[in-house]
Symmetry: C2
């Protein structure tokens, strides 16, 4: 609405320089992008929520205890560099603490990356279809988004990608990818390192993968060009906490630290993240349950006639040759089951003009049973 | 270090286009600014900490209870628009919920404001001396910082400010100001509204003020150009929580919402903030104690020969004609008392080339007694 002066109800937020010239108070980049539409988060009970890749199991019991302790001392500022957390996270990756930058969710880490490395009119690149946020963050920064084409089997079209990678300040690769759940090999990832920028390996779903997600590249000859990002939202069952971090060479972290707000992580989330990261046995048990249910879900969907991409994440991507994906989503929603209907325009190497499908989060066994029961009535 | 290629130990984070040309991976704006140096946060016990305007009293007891409840459901995402919080905050200002934008501390709200309204090479303005963060955020955005000159008594030199205000996309005015603690009248604030931008009234210390901090301007004829910011770090004793919010016309909030991360506030801080904001009686008792101690501190410092600016905040600004402020700060630190020594270069209408002084947070009565005892031995 704000980009159309005729539709604007009041003169005050617009400057009349002359009767013929209107001007928004916002940056043109902000005017241009669409307003944020929150994902479906039903506020009433009774829903089975398989639409935002939340973990259906509770976090480690140590988390609530750490939060209770930290809540006794909230009148003072948090440790601005989260010293203890960085040590714990660094140990997981075999690096020193100065390789870690904590963030208010890995979304904030992605925002910090964009603001650290990419100037207006410079470009970023990412496989398409993948995480839609990269494009939004680039638009906010006034940067150019370029898509790296994928083959129909979700493998990279590396030849077609080469020139785009060469120009990028950041190449973002979610590994495993969303919505597909597939994993790319380290050899493919190496080809995505831009000669004048960094490769960000977005590991939101890395803990669910059976193979390497590329983190060993940190220790390779191109290690100073690699940034790993991690979130506690999925595998640690802490979507409500907003905690993520970057792992990268200390020289890269030093630049990113200049951009972050001084106190970007609060005392409660730092304490909770320390407790969660330290409980390795709980993580193992949690992801084991998800992986078992994922196998069952994928097999059952295949039995119902879906093509299911072999998933290395806590969701599966299901499509049917006959289409009708949106109707299936709507049919499930009428039964209070939320999954994600996704639609990608202009996905180069997919045959359709618009490529769409269903992304289904791996819930509990009972939730998946109910989903499959209803799905059987719809297909 | 990163701006000096000679000093750089490795070639990898620099791109050799030719033997004569080096290039940092970072944005030039990031290279240019100094690295972040965290404030003094001693990690050992025994310190009296009067340097970062933390509140010495605990938050409302309802806060810990709200956190405990919210910690039972951390596996799901927070409400991305913090519906309940916005209603509670809106009621305090007599506006609707769509006038409120919650943030991860008011520092994040300031970052969002900069990224919503200010493009590279546009300008912002703020009184000087005031909060140092405005200048850092502008530098990150590639924007120009301009200082609005103040008279020796901390009143605005409005005539000198006029041309600078006219060019600004945002004018930031902390009211009460830091480090001085003085309050500016609404008439003065009106003169600071930029014709093509917004006036941000940074109310970090507003709850400690006896007079108006300008929030009534929201309802005036220039209300669509005013943004109030609030933090829970000071008056609500929740510096560890990172929670703040903006109050502004819904059209302005809509633009800011496009810029914020989808889930910028976590479930624990939203729940805690709701509990804290709702406990008005606790806020009243807490600020009453601070105000009584502030009066006692200011009187005692005046008795020791300091000029003390009449404070409307939870700190006082003290200077001596004879100077020696840094020595006093060092002397106190040797006795494990931390206050803030501050130094402002090029403060136009102050007589000195470099203007400096001591900012002392109002602690408990016992802490202030100890400070005064040691100060007596130093002056």
């Amino acid at each position: 609405m704000l980009t159309d002066p005729q539709a604007y109800p009041s003169g005050l937020a617009w400057c009349c320089e002359s009767p013929w010239k209107f001007m928004s108070l916002f940056r043109p980049n902000v005017d241009r992008i669409a307003g944020y539409v929150p994902g479906e988060q039903p506020q009433t009970g009774g829903w089975i929520k398989l639409n935002t890749n939340e973990n259906p199991y509770p976090p480690s019991p140590r988390v609530a205890e750490a939060i209770r302790e930290a809540s006794q001392r909230l009148n003072v500022y948090p440790d601005p560099v989260a010293t203890r957390l960085r040590r714990i996270a660094a140990d997981l990756f075999g690096v020193d603490a100065d390789w870690i930058l904590p963030g208010n969710g890995s979304d904030e880490v992605l925002t910090i990356l964009m603001r650290t490395f990419v100037d207006p009119r410079e470009s970023i690149a990412f496989p398409y279809p993948s995480y839609v946020l990269y494009e939004t963050l680039a638009a906010l920064q006034g940067a150019i988004s370029r898509r790296l084409p994928l083959h129909r089997d979700w493998s990279f079209d590396l030849k077609a990608a080469e020139a785009t990678v060469a120009k990028a300040k950041i190449v973002f690769v979610p590994n495993p990818n969303s919505p597909s759940g597939n994993l790319w090999s380290s050899d493919v990832l190496k080809a995505c390192v831009p000669p004048r920028g960094v490769l960000v390996l977005d590991g939101a779903y890395a803990d669910f993968a059976s193979g390497s997600t590329g983190s060993e590249l940190l220790q390779s000859e191109i290690g100073e060009r690699i940034v790993l990002t991690r979130t506690l939202s999925k595998s640690y069952s802490l979507a409500g906490l907003r905690f993520g971090f970057a792992v990268a060479h200390p020289d890269l972290i030093a630049g990113m630290r200049k951009v972050k707000d001084s106190y970007n992580c609060d005392s409660l989330s730092i304490a909770a993240a320390c407790a969660a990261l330290a409980d390795r046995e709980w993580l193992r048990q949690n992801t084991s349950k998800i992986l078992a249910t994922r196998t069952r879900l994928a097999t059952a969907l295949a039995g119902l006639g879906f093509e299911v991409v072999p998933s290395e994440a806590n969701f599966v991507w299901a499509t049917r040759r006959s289409g009708g994906h949106r109707d299936l989503y709507e049919g499930l929603k009428r039964q209070q089951i939320l999954i994600r209907y996704m639609r990608f325009a202009g996905a180069a190497n997919f045959s359709e003009d618009v490529y769409d499908g269903l992304r289904i989060t791996v819930g509990t066994d009972a939730e998946i049973d109910r989903l499959l029961d209803v799905m059987k009535t719809l297909v």
